[in-house]
C-alpha cells in the first residue's frame, strides 16, 4: 500500500526534531501538524501531547523524526534515530532532507523493526511514499463544500480522507498557539510559530458586541411585548397586518435581529456565515435607507413630490373616464349592447368620481404622510420600498375593485354559459360523480334554457371587453408591485458577506482540492502540492442564500392563464411561511 504523508509547507526548512501529528485511521495516511525541535525532554513532550489531546479532542501522537542536518549537528542523527524506542508507535517515520536537494527521503520502520539498527530498506519502499505538501493556514481556515452535518450519528459512512485531514488541522488550533516567543520548555515550528497575528479592531468589536447584544435583545423584548397586545389580535387588524408587506418585512427583520442578538457564539460554519450575512444585509439596508433619506429631505424634494402626486392622480382618473367613455361608445368598431354598456359604464364612472373626491380630501395631508413615511427609510431601504408598495396598493384600490367586479361578472357569465351549453346539447353536470352525464330535459326547460343561453352569449362581448380592460390595468399595478417586492427580496436574501469572502479570501470556501506534481528526482518519493479549489459563484449563492418569505406566485404560468381565461380571481402573491432552501 502507498503511504501518504501530508506535510505542511512551513516545516520544509524546520530544524531537526520530532514530528507531531495524527494517523488517519483506515486510510494509511498521516497528517503532520508541527515539528518539535531539539533540545527537548521526551517526558515533557509526552505530557504536552497528552494535554493537547485532552483539550482539543484530536488524537495527536508523535509520528516520527525529522532531520535537516546543519553543520555541527552530526551526533543528532543517531540520537533522533534512537528516539523510536521512547515513543513506541505504529510505523515510525524517519524523514530526512539534505540542504540543497529538493526531495525528502523517508524510511518507515514497522513495529518489529524498532530497536534494531537502521537497516537498508529496499529501493522500492522509498517509492511507495507520497508527500503531499499543504499550506497550513489555508487548510485550517477553509471549509470543504458540500458541508456535512455536524452530528456524527447521522452520517452513514465515515468521512473521506480529505475531510478527515481538514478536520484534523482545523481542530488542532491549540497546537498552533505555542510560538517561538513563549518561554516554555518546548519549541515547535508550524504556521504560527513566527508569532500569532490578531487584529485589534476585531478584538475590540468582540468585546463591544456583548453589551450591544444585550441592549438589542432588551429592545426586541419590548417590541415583542408591544406586538402581542391583545388589541392587535382583533380580526381586522390581524388580517391587515398579514397582508401589508411592511408588517411582514418588520416581522422578518425582527427574527433576524433576534438571531443576531443571541449571546451564544456561532457554532459551526453555516451558523457563522448565516449570522454574518444577516448582519451585513441589515447594515447595507440601513445605509441605503439613510442615503435615500438624505436625498428625500433635501431641496424640498418632498413637497415637490406631494405637489405632483395629486395632479398625477387626477390625470389617471381623467384617463380612466375617457377609457370608459370610449368603451360605452363603439370601442374598436365592436358593437356593444347599449343597455348593459350604459349600466356598467355609469357604475364605474360613479366609482371613479368617489375615488377622486377621496383623493382631493386627502390632498392636504399627503405631504405630511410622505414626510413621516420617509422616516421609515432610516430602518432600511426595504421598509421604504415595502411602504411604497403598500401605498401604491392603497391608491390603486379602485382599480382592484373594478377588476374584482369585472372578474366576478365575467366568471358568472362563463359558468352560466357552460352550464347552458351543456343543456343545449342534452347533458348535465353530475355533482356526485364529478362528470358530465346525459340528461333528458322537459320541453319548457329546454326552451327557457336555450333562450337564456342566447341572451348570455350575445352579452358576452360587452362583459368580456370590460373584464379585459380592467384585468390589464390590474396586471400593470401588480407588475409594479412585483418589481418592488423583487428588489426587497433581493436585498433580504443576497449573501453579501459570503460573496465578499469569495472575492477576497477564496480559499476559505473550497469546493475541493487540486494537486500539482512538484518536480521530483527519479528514485525519490513523489511530491505533490495540494491547493484549494475555490467554490463557483453559483454554488456560493445557492449555499448561503438567506431564507426569505416567498413573494413568488404559487401558480405556474399555465395555471395563471387558465384562471384569467375563466375569470377566477388572481392573487399574485400569498405570503407563505418562511421558505427554507
Amino acid at each position: 500500500m502507498v503511504l501518504k504523508i501530508f506535510f505542511p509547507q512551513c516545516c520544509n526548512r524546520a530544524d531537526s526534531g520530532l514530528l507531531v501529528g495524527r494517523w488517519v485511521s483506515g486510510h494509511d495516511s498521516a497528517v503532520v501538524l508541527a515539528v518539535i525541535h531539539y533540545p527537548f525532554i521526551p517526558g515533557q513532550v509526552k505530557q504536552y501531547i497528552q494535554q493537547l489531546q485532552a483539550q482539543s479532542g484530536v488524537e495527536l501522537s508523535v509520528l516520527g523524526s525529522w532531520s535537516l542536518p546543519k553543520e555541527g549537528q552530526e551526533g543528532l542523527e543517531s540520537f533522533i534515530r534512537d528516539l523510536s524506542t521512547i515513543f513506541p508507535q505504529e510505523p515510525w517515520l524517519q524523514i530526512s532532507r539534505q540542504v540543497g536537494k529538493t526531495g525528502f527521503t523517508c524510511e518507515v520502520l514497522g513495529r518489529d523493526q524498532i530497536g534494531k539498527a537502521a537497516q537498508q530498506e529496499e529501493e522500492e519502499d522509498e517509492e511507495k511514499v507520497i508527500f503531499v505538501h499543504y499550506e497550513q493556514m489555508k487548510v485550517m481556515l477553509s471549509q470543504l463544500h458540500p458541508i456535512e452535518s455536524q452530528n456524527p450519528d447521522n452520517r452513514s459512512e465515515p468521512p473521506s480522507e480529505l475531510r478527515q485531514m481538514f478536520q484534523t488541522v482545523a481542530r488542532s488550533e491549540l497546537l498552533f498557539f505555542l510560538d517561538r516567543y513563549d518561554d516554555g520548555p518546548l519549541k515547535s515550528t508550524h504556521w504560527q510559530s513566527e508569532g500569532r497575528e490578531a487584529s485589534i479592531i476585531v478584538e475590540l468589536l468582540k468585546r463591544a458586541s456583548v453589551p450591544l447584544c444585550v441592549f438589542i435583545s432588551w429592545l426586541l423584548s419590548v417590541w415583542t411585548w408591544f406586538c402581542n397586545i391583545r388589541i392587535f389580535s382583533v380580526f381586522p387588524l390581524s388580517f391587515l397586518s398579514s397582508k401589508l408587506s411592511t408588517c411582514v418585512q418588520l416581522n422578518y427583520r425582527t427574527e433576524h435581529l433576534r438571531t443576531l442578538s443571541s449571546p451564544r457564539a456561532a457554532e459551526g460554519h453555516m451558523e457563522f456565515m448565516r449570522k454574518a450575512n444577516i448582519l451585513v444585509s441589515v447594515l447595507v439596508d440601513v445605509a441605503l435607507g439613510v442615503l435615500l433619506m438624505s436625498w428625500l429631505y433635501r431641496d424640498e424634494n418632498i413637497s415637490t413630490l406631494a405637489h405632483t402626486l395629486v395632479p398625477a392622480a387626477d390625470h389617471v382618473a381623467r384617463q380612466l373616464e375617457e377609457l370608459l367613455q370610449w368603451l360605452m361608445g363603439a370601442p374598436a368598431g365592436l358593437k356593444m349592447n347599449r343597455a348593459l354598456d350604459q349600466v356598467l359604464g355609469r357604475f364605474f364612472l360613479y366609482h371613479i368620481h368617489l375615488w377622486i373626491s377621496y383623493i382631493h380630501l386627502m390632498a392636504p395631508f399627503i405631504e405630511g404622510i410622505l414626510w413621516y413615511g420617509g422616516l421609515s427609510a432610516c430602518l432600511g431601504l426595504t421598509f421604504a420600498l415595502s411602504l411604497l408598495s403598500d401605498m401604491v396598493a392603497l391608491f390603486t384600490f379602485h382599480i382592484y375593485c373594478f377588476y374584482v367586479y369585472g372578474a366576478r361578472l365575467y366568471c358568472l357569465k362563463i359558468y352560466g354559459l357552460s352550464s347552458l351549453w351543456r343543456l343545449f346539447r342534452g347533458k348535465k353536470w353530475n355533482v356526485l360523480r364529478q362528470r358530465v352525464d346525459s340528461c333528458s330535459y322537459d320541453l319548457d326547460q329546454l326552451f327557457i334554457g336555450t333562450l337564456l343561453f342566447t341572451v348570455l352569449l350575445f352579452l358576452l362581448p360587452t362583459t368580456a371587453l370590460y373584464y379585459l380592460v380592467f384585468t390589464l390595468l390590474r396586471l400593470v399595478v401588480v407588475l409594479f408591485q412585483g418589481v418592488l417586492h423583487l428588489i426587497v427580496d433581493f436585498i433580504n436574501s443576497f449573501p453579501l458577506f459570503s460573496v465578499g469572502l469569495w472575492v477576497c479570501r477564496s480559499y476559505r470556501l473550497a469546493e475541493g482540492v487540486k494537486f500539482r506534481v512538484l518536480c521530483d528526482e527519479p528514485g525519490t518519493a513523489l511530491h505533490l502540492l495540494m491547493e484549494m479549489n475555490p467554490l463557483r459563484f453559483g454554488s456560493v449563492l445557492q449555499t448561503y442564500r438567506t431564507a426569505t418569505y416567498s413573494c413568488y406566485p404559487k401558480d405556474s404560468w399555465g395555471a395563471l392563464v387558465r384562471k384569467l381565461f375563466i375569470g377566477e380571481l388572481v392573487f399574485p402573491w400569498r405570503h407563505k411561511t418562511t421558505k427554507t432552501d
Binding site: 500500500m1 502507498v2 501518504k4 494509511d28 517509492e127 511507495k128 507520497i130 503531499v132 452513514s156 459512512e157 473521506s160 480522507e161 480529505l162 475541493g512 482540492v513 487540486k514 494537486f515 506534481v517 521530483d520 513523489l526 505533490l528 479549489n533
Partner: protein, 181 residues
C-alpha cells in the same frame, strides 16, 4: 514522456501526451487543435462586410462600431468559455483522480475525485443517431448499494478521442489503479 498523434471522432488531429511521474502517478494530456487564424479571419471579414453594407444603406456609424465591439467581445467570450485547449487526467494511486480542462485563454477548471468514491474506470459506448461513440468514464460508488453505481463522470469530453487513444489511456490507468487497490 511520449507524444503521439491520434484523431478525434470527427477526424481532426489531436495529440496525447503521457507522462509517468512515478510508478503510481501518471498524467495524460489530450490537446485539441488550436484556433486557426484562417477561420478567425474569415469570420471577422464576413461580419465586417455585412456591417459595412448595412452602413452603406443606412449611413449610421453606430452599425460599424457595434460590429467591431460584437466581434471583439464574441472572440473574448469564445476563447475564455468555449474553446478548450487541452484536457488532462492525473492518476495518483490510492489518492484519487484529477480531471482538468484548460481553455484557450488559460483558464483552468479542475475537479478531484477521491479514490474512495471511484468504483472503476471503463470505456463505455454511446449510440448517437447513426454513430457509436466510445468514451472513457469513471464509475462512482453508491453508498447504499455495495455493487451499485451512483454516477458516471465522462472524461475528455471536449476532445473526444477515438478508441485507439482511449485504449492506451485505459490500460495505463488500470495498471495504476489496480496496483494500489
Amino acid at each position: 514522456m511520449e507524444d503521439e498523434a491520434f484523431t478525434d471522432i470527427s477526424g481532426k488531429p489531436i495529440t496525447l501526451d503521457c507522462q509517468s511521474h512515478s510508478s503510481f502517478c501518471r498524467e495524460f494530456t489530450v490537446s485539441s487543435p488550436k484556433v486557426s487564424i484562417g477561420k478567425v479571419m474569415v469570420y471577422t471579414c464576413s461580419v465586417w462586410l455585412v456591417a459595412y453594407s448595412v452602413f452603406f444603406f443606412t449611413q449610421n456609424t453606430a452599425v460599424l462600431s457595434s460590429a467591431i465591439i460584437v466581434t471583439l467581445v464574441g472572440m473574448m467570450l469564445y476563447i475564455h468559455f468555449v474553446k478548450v485547449d487541452h484536457e488532462s487526467l492525473l492518476v495518483i494511486g490510492s489518492l484519487g483522480l484529477q480531471v482538468s480542462s484548460t481553455y484557450a485563454s488559460g483558464r483552468e477548471v479542475t475537479t478531484f475525485i477521491e479514490m474512495d468514491k471511484i468504483r472503476d474506470i471503463v470505456i463505455n459506448e454511446a449510440i448517437y443517431m447513426h454513430q457509436i461513440i466510445y468514451y472513457l468514464c469513471v464509475l462512482m460508488k453508491d453508498q447504499s448499494e455495495p455493487n451499485g453505481v451512483s454516477g458516471v463522470v465522462p472524461l475528455f469530453q471536449s476532445s473526444k478521442p477515438r478508441l485507439s487513444c482511449l485504449v492506451k489511456v485505459y490500460k495505463s490507468c488500470q495498471e495504476v489503479v489496480s496496483r494500489c487497490q
